[in-house]
Subunit: 252 residues, 2 copies
DNA sequence: CGGTAGAGATTGTTGAACAATTCCACAAGA
DNA sequence: TCTTGTGGAATTGTTCAACAATCTCTACCG
């Protein structure tokens, strides 16, 4: 269970062109090693490289990434706070396995947040092109059978919806919720049909938003989320316990 | 911590003879040093021992608390993630000074969350006694002139309102928002009159909830939050920049 | 008066070390 | 056979010391 080699890609946030005043504050763009490591791990978890239930060894990952244990532990703290990892004292950190209660709670918050954001729409919003773009990407992914991109596009679509609230904190919250949902999808056996089913409804919501009909879009979105939650909970319950059992039996 | 060895069953599969011990999980779990240190600092910040803008020296606090720099840094990460501290690379951590934009955003989220939680009320909720208790504590604090307790009671009142949503994540979010608001109040010169003014409106909201009138309570609460935000923003803007200036001039 | 070089202080990160705890295999006993 | 100690190995928790990177402030120089 060793030998994992992880390529550390230091993201270059260099902005081409004239630097503006915001970039003046270099404190934002500069990131500590721990944060960069957390970014790498976050991406790996999102793409399923580290599967839910798996343990992240300090020694192995520290060697693979070329950072000390102390720095790595700082990164673990970050991700634990985002509910992507679960920290068990003296046992280490594990990729979280969301429970069914977690799924229900995630959707409870999504209904509150996303519906409120959409409800406030009274005219075609400035970000409409970006929203439409996400829907189009989803369509294209479904057409070419790229199920992974389909899920990603769907996540982006909902993040754009939440961004209609204009709140930095809402954006951050939704970002974390969707990251958690990715863990759920990694446990699901067939996320493909799950996402596929809701593509036409994305268009319905999009049309209501373009028409500036906030309440109408909210109603559609609420139904959308209720249905998705119900289907997800039904299909997820046994998968989650199976994942836990698989992890427990991994020893052999 | 000697003698008894307890086997904790995580998944309660209805095994006869093994009662639901999963609930006792919290009693078994311990906290790491970093988490305990974070708890101490969190309390100190909330009560104003560390004032907004102040720097938290790794050396000084590490010595005072008897923990190593590494452990202390883990605690700092935790609090930075809660927006209580601001981390500036190579400069250290500072107690955060919320900007006016932060105040606006906090209230934007509060309106969404708390109003949604209250809206769902259709009958006198089970937690009504707890909500009423918070209002009573606030009245008592105002009567005896204990302004600090008044602010605390008010925070608790709103946390109970948010808890009506029944969502663990909403509770956590609101807890963080109110912790951030404490920083705001520490900058304000006269929080006393601010809280005092809204006491009668707490009772109005409480009555609507007791009557099971969710939408009515929502309307009152929304107006409450709008007024509070407006007043707060008006009185806060110059205070915040003054605090920043005071910190900048602290060097002399 | 303004800019700058450098000394001192603080943080960023590492590596080693040791204690505490968990894990695992195996033996002992009912 | 099943349960119950028991020991060693592996892993995490925490501290410490050291050095590099960066910031801050002072004093000097043009």
């Amino acid at each position: 269970m060793v030998g994992t080699i992880v390529h550390v890609v230091i993201e270059d946030n260099g902005v081409p062109g004239v630097p503006d005043l915001a970039a003046d504050r270099g404190l934002v763009s500069r990131k500590s090693t721990a944060e960069r490591v957390a970014g790498v791990l976050r991406k790996r978890i999102a793409e399923g490289y580290f599967l839910p239930g798996g343990r992240l060894s300090e020694q192995d990952i520290g060697n693979a990434l070329g950072v000390s244990r102390n720095t790595l532990r700082e990164a673990f703290r970050l991700l634990t706070h985002e509910r992507l990892l679960a920290h068990e004292l003296n046992r280490g950190v594990f990729v979280r396995i969301p429970s069914v209660e977690d799924v229900v709670d995630i959707y409870r918050v999504r209904k509150i947040i996303e519906c409120a954001a959409v409800r406030g729409v009274t005219a075609k919003p400035a970000s409409f092109p970006r929203i439409k773009e996400k829907v189009d990407i989803g369509d294209e992914a479904a057409r070419t059978g790229n199920w992974k991109d389909l899920g990603t596009a769907n996540v982006w679509f909902h993040q754009e919806l939440a961004a209609l609230s204009g709140s930095e904190r809402v954006n951050e919250l939704v970002g974390r919720l969707t990251a958690e949902l990715r863990l759920v999808f990694h446990i699901m056996a067939e996320p493909r049909r799950f996402h596929e089913r809701y593509l036409p409804r994305n268009h319905e919501i999009l049309d209501s938003i373009e028409a500036g009909d906030g309440p109408g879009a909210e109603q559609l979105l609420m139904k959308y989320l209720e249905d998705a939650e119900e289907q997800l909970v039904g299909a997820y319950a046994d998968r989650a316990v199976a994942a836990r059992a698989a992890v427990a039996a991994e020893q052999s």
